[in-house]
């Protein structure tokens, strides 16, 4: 096993410029001895157009990291910047997909998707057309006037993804968006997400605790370990795109998954 942390080779999708840059970041919930150190000494960067996956066990601070990047939580120490500017509060060029779909039951599918446009006062007609195009892209055409309660969990999650894309943010932060889905739907969604990303070419930071999902989606994987949340390993996934589900059966894929597991569980022993 390679112990050194390697910088990713600039791939065809990424430029030299860092879109996300995190240096020596720590976050403590609460104060003093009773405080909980959720993130400790996290450093990484994400290049323009790169698909980064953060994988780690439950409670290791993945959502906390995402909230810092989304400007929802101020860090305790260290620096976090987007496009070279330190993060202070929320920004309009970010799309966030939360762990649950977080839809408003009083808004229709189209209304939910249009929420960022309503909040940010964007051109209604143009945004509406975009919303319909995006709903089409994720296979929700004809559902725009339905209400969230009429949708399955997977469809709701897709609405949440479209909402994050509607204002065409350069950066997409996704927190276990498929965590609540069954394995089959989840794999389909992974393929769909890859397609959307390849079409729209955004910088994505994707959080998961599934090793297979991480390797399947990532240009680069960051493995976090818990208590406190630290980066255990970081490596590039060099599998050709677009990846098909069959790639999961290849030896190369298996080797990457093994590497994630080893980083998650440095003591040895299998993680089943």
């Amino acid at each position: 096993m390679d112990a050194t942390v390697e910088r990713p080779p600039p791939t065809a999708y990424s430029s030299v410029k860092d879109v996300i840059s995190v240096r020596r970041l720590s976050l403590k919930y609460g104060r003093g001895a009773a405080g909980l150190l959720a993130l400790s000494d996290i450093s990484f960067s994400v290049a323009d157009g790169e698909f980064i996956v953060v994988v780690g066990p439950s409670g290791c601070g993945k959502s906390t990291l995402l909230k810092v990047l989304a400007g929802l939580l101020p860090q305790t120490e260290g620096e976090a910047s987007l496009n070279g500017t330190p993060i202070k509060g929320s920004r309009r060029d970010i799309g966030v997909v939360f762990q649950s779909p977080v839809l408003f039951p009083w808004r229709s599918v189209l209304g939910n998707v249009m929420l960022p446009a309503d909040v940010q006062g964007l051109d209604q007609a143009r945004m509406q057309q975009r919303a319909l195009d995006l709903l089409n892209l994720v296979g929700l055409q004809g559902f725009e006037d339905r209400y969230p309660r009429e949708l399955s969990g997977g469809m709701q999650q897709r609405v949440g993804i479209v909402r994050a894309l509607i204002h065409d943010p350069a950066i997409l932060l996704m927190d276990e968006p498929f965590g609540a889905l069954d394995a089959m739907t989840r794999e389909t969604m992974n393929v769909e997400l890859q397609r959307i990303w390849m079409e729209r070419r955004k910088t994505v930071l994707f959080i998961t605790h599934s090793t297979a999902e991480a390797v399947f989606l990532a240009d680069r994987v960051i493995v976090m370990t818990s208590r406190p949340g630290r980066i255990g390993d970081e490596f590039a996934v060099d599998l050709p795109r677009p990846r098909k589900l069959a790639v999961m059966n290849t030896e190369a894929f298996g080797a990457y998954v093994k590497r994630v597991r080893a980083a998650l569980n440095p003591g040895g022993g299998g993680l089943d």
């Binding site: 909230k67 929802l72 309009r92 966030v96 408003f104 009083w106 929420l115 909040v119």
Partner: protein, 268 residues
Amino acid sequence: MRRGPVSFVLRLLFIAALLGVWEWAVVFFQTPAYIVPAPSSIAYAMYNGIATNLYVGHIGATVGETLLGFVLGCALAFVLGTIVALSRTVEYYLYPIIIMFQAMPKVALVPLILVWFGLGLTSKVISAALVAFFPLMVNTIVGLRSADEDRINLMRSLSASRWQIFRMLQLPNAMPYIFAGLEIAMIFALIGAIVAELISAERGLGMLMQSMSFTMDVAGQFSILFILSILGLILNGLVTLVRRQVLFWDTSRDADANEQSATKGEVL
């Protein structure tokens, strides 16, 4: 639970049987009519009242007071509840007063209101408003504060202003609570109006009830109780009707009408 027409008939039969037992017991025990009248004499009193056009004016007066009090009390409750929910500072200073008033039986204030506002319409409307006020205020506060942390984070991540968070998230999110409060407030307003009328009034079902009490017309009083309960059902039904239109997206509340009410133990 879904039940067929057979159980509906059984239900009617059950009520008929109860009335039958009541009628029989009054005759059998020779209960004097000034203590408990038989259902037949209540029905007769009712018929008489309708035939002599006794009720209409009084019903109109009571309904008018109730609705005016409801609107006044609810408008104030919504405004104050919103201010308290959005401002921790206001809440800090008002909290002890709110708690004091909440624990106090509001109807005990009605005699004072009559002293301050006279025997006419004003005092009845204020009584109704006072009693209707608290359930809605408490539900408004709880409802506005119940917005899910994730949803607030979503709004914040979109750089929403405080006003946008209120208008697009907190207010619609609070609507189920607010309507639960409105349903209770409507019944409470009726109670407030009736109590004020019972104490002193020129018109209204409560005043009619009181005057029948002097003439020991117990059957007449029972007929008014019946009218009041029908009135309560209609007024409450009006709010429910509006709720169904406004809260079409909220499926959680059809099962239990008071599910979302924060005021189950509210003191009148």
